[in-house]
């Protein structure tokens, strides 16, 4: 009986992809470990231990944005009709539903997990391109970074990742885990499903850039320190995502703390 030689291309994509992602993450951590940390006195934010390296990677990412992402996103906005863009957004949201269901379950939010599962099943009839549910906004996105936060895993350093952008160490690890739950991962190599899954990565980047075109351009071209602004936005966005909006809507946020501290200090 002839044994088929195992090559990278013959490994089912479901097995190969996580390895690639995991290897990428290990490579990134290795790169950062090799970087010397910025002394605290020289940092513009105490959470940013690798600020000098992060700023260089940010400059690289901005270059990629200027030469690739911004023009492509501009063309996408101009040429793809609203309905087509909405279908792509729907599909990308749908692909994230298994991750939401899994993380909601681990976080103990069974209602959100059930909603995510129902939405995934119903919209799966169209591979998520059409939203067939009554209330598309009912599902609250959950990721593994949030799950780790709820388990009191420390946030880790602020990392500017090539092509992927701003992450905390914890959130980057969460992202690797979330990528394993992509529903299209279960298709074999060479299938339409695997091609679609591969296309999701650039599609997600282009759709995000197009949906936030003016905002990102304003940060990029009009802020004095776009790196510092991006870092601030990232931390606030994550803090917002970590608040349990269903149960603790009235609870003080990190922003509230800043204003409380401001009004508590003696006037001068």
């Amino acid at each position: 009986m002839a044994h088929k030689e195992m090559t990278m291309s013959s490994i089912p994509i479901v097995g190969r992809w996580p390895l690639w992602r995991g290897g990428f993450a290990v490579l990134l951590f290795g790169m950062l470990a090799a970087c010397s940390s910025t002394p605290e006195a020289k940092r513009s934010d105490f959470r940013d231990s690798y600020e000098n390296t992060n700023r260089k990677i940010f400059a690289f990412n901005m270059g990629v944005d200027s030469y690739v992402l911004e023009p492509v996103a501009d063309g996408y906005r101009s040429n793809v009709p609203d309905a087509g863009r909405r279908a792509i957004d729907n599909h990308l949201d749908w692909a994230g539903l298994p991750s939401t269901a899994l993380n909601s379950t681990i976080q103990g939010d069974l209602e959100n997990a059930a909603l995510a599962t129902i939405h995934f099943a119903i919209n799966g009839l169209t591979l998520g391109f059409a939203d067939l549910t009554e209330n598309p906004g009912a599902v609250e996105k959950r990721d593994f970074g949030q799950t780790l936060a709820r388990a009191n895993v420390p946030e880790g350093d602020y990392l500017m990742v090539p092509l992927l952008g701003a992450h905390s160490g914890r959130n980057l690890a969460g992202r690797v885990v979330d990528s394993l739950t992509n529903p299209l991962s279960f298709f074999q190599a060479g299938n339409v499903g695997s091609t679609m899954r591969t296309a999701q990565i650039p599609a997600r980047a282009v759709a995000f850039r197009a949906n936030n075109f003016d905002t990102i351009n304003d940060i990029k071209y009009n802020s004095i320190d776009s790196y510092a602004r991006t870092r601030s936005l990232y931390y606030q966005m994550r803090a917002g995502a970590l608040r349990d909006r269903q149960n603790n809507d009235q609870a003080p946020s990190a922003t509230d703390d800043q204003f409380d501290a401001f009004f508590d200090e003696p006037a001068k």
Binding site: S44, G137, G240
Partner: protein, 224 residues
């Protein structure tokens, strides 16, 4: 002969108990009264903040209705809106972070002008994005004794974009008219973002507050 009736220990205890009960009753009444006063002040603050935001949105809609895509006219309108509804001195003080205390009077004045220009410039550049959106207040909550957060959503009239959650942080000090301090969009505070960017710039320039003012002025000039 005056007969002094001797109080028995039982009577003394009953007297002490009634006195204690009276004190508890009195304290309870005072607490209820104070509580009602506090909640009354809170309700009044919230009402004032709601009115301010509602009035501002009416003005914004009126400006948008007359907007003819003329940058100069737009800048004038936005400047008037900002001066009428926003608390510039507190915005300046907050956004400078701990470096405000070390700044001298001239620097403070120069910084107030610079931050005003930066904010107005940002709003003018992004004014188009407000077109076709309708603001609806959802709820308001007191944040401490001086702030009220007026929450609401911007919804797209054409229903092509998902609703945007917005919060207006309004200062409602006792003897002053309410003013807006901050805008939060999807949990992101514009003022905190500005503050963290400003602090980063000052720290990169070895703590020089003047470096921030220069950088802001240069940016405003290049954007105009």
């Amino acid at each position: 002969m005056i007969c002094h009736e001797k109080l028995t220990s039982k009577q003394l205890f009953a007297f002490a108990l009634s006195f204690k009960s009276a004190r508890i009753f009195l304290a309870s009444v005072m607490l209820i009264w104070l509580g009602s006063q506090t909640s009354f002040a809170g309700t009044s603050q919230i009402d004032d903040a709601n009115k301010l935001v509602t009035q501002m949105m009416v003005d914004v809609e009126s400006i948008l209705a007359q907007d003819i895509n003329d940058d100069l006219a737009r800048r004038e309108n936005v400047s008037a809106l900002f001066d009428r509804y926003f608390d510039l001195p507190t915005i300046a003080k907050f956004s400078a972070g701990p470096y405000w205390r070390a700044a001298d009077a001239d620097q403070k004045t120069a910084y107030e002008t610079a931050i005003r220009d930066v904010i107005i410039g940002t709003v003018v550049r992004n004014f188009d994005q407000l077109s076709g959106l309708k603001f609806t207040a959802t709820d308001s909550q007191a944040k401490g004794t001086q702030l009220v957060l007026v929450n609401g959503t911007f919804t797209d009239n054409k229903q092509q974009q998902p609703p945007i959650v917005v919060g207006w942080r309004v200062i409602t000090a006792d003897n002053a008219s309410p003013r807006i301090l901050d805008v939060e969009i999807e949990n992101i505070s514009m003022l905190v973002t500005q503050k963290q960017e400003n602090i980063a710039i000052i720290r990169k320039n070895e703590g020089k507050f003047s470096a921030l003012i220069d950088a802001m002025n240069q940016r405003s000039q290049s954007n105009n």
